[in-house]
Subunit: 117 residues, 2 copies
């Protein structure tokens, strides 16, 4: 029987060495190396995290905040290095979602169809 | 380079074969085999899912609903087979959380400390 932690560390290594992660890392480092892109991206990230936190806590989000967030997104999308970074994030997200679906399959099978028990 | 999907399937297999998952499966099947325990547990699960969905959508949860949910929890905790199942769920959750922390480590390292870049 394979050990869960060994398998998890193997998977971590495979993710770390993947083209997807390496591409994201490079795109991230490119943005971080440019002071104005870095500030723009961090501003965008802070805005997103704040909105997510509010949403998760069930707090109301004002129209002004939504408008502001939209403007920040539009701004960062026009920056080629940041839009490249967002593309790479999206690519890695797809991978992580796939992985997550695979490893939660036993649980889904158990809980997914109680009627068949 | 290890393939991500191969590693993910290895991990899935390790989870499926683990004492934690097998213990949960057995506890789940015990509850499902007893009609009254099954109904009680499914009622509990439906209540929980409904509350979670409301919370995630930022909908207000009434005091009555909170009170009702508490009563359902108290009821199921008194049932030995269901409280065993909840213990096993908790045990597997700890494992899945550990796994999740391990495999998201590369991302955390990248995004966790932008100031160091």
């Amino acid at each position: 029987m394979a050990n869960i932690y060994d398998s998890a560390y193997d998977l971590e290594k495979a993710i770390r060495e993947s083209d997807e992660f390496q591409g994201l890392k490079q795109a991230y480092e490119t943005v971080m190396a440019d002071e104005s892109a870095k500030n723009m991206f961090e501003n965008f990230r802070t805005t997103q995290i704040n909105l997510q936190e509010k949403q998760m806590q069930g707090q109301e989000i004002s129209e002004e905040e939504v408008e502001q967030a939209k403007q920040v997104v539009e701004l960062v999308q026009q920056h080629p290095d940041i839009s490249k970074l967002m593309e790479e994030e999206q690519r890695l997200n797809v991978l992580i979602n796939d992985v997550s679906k695979i490893i939660t399959k036993p649980l889904e099978e158990l809980y997914g169809s109680p009627e068949e028990q």
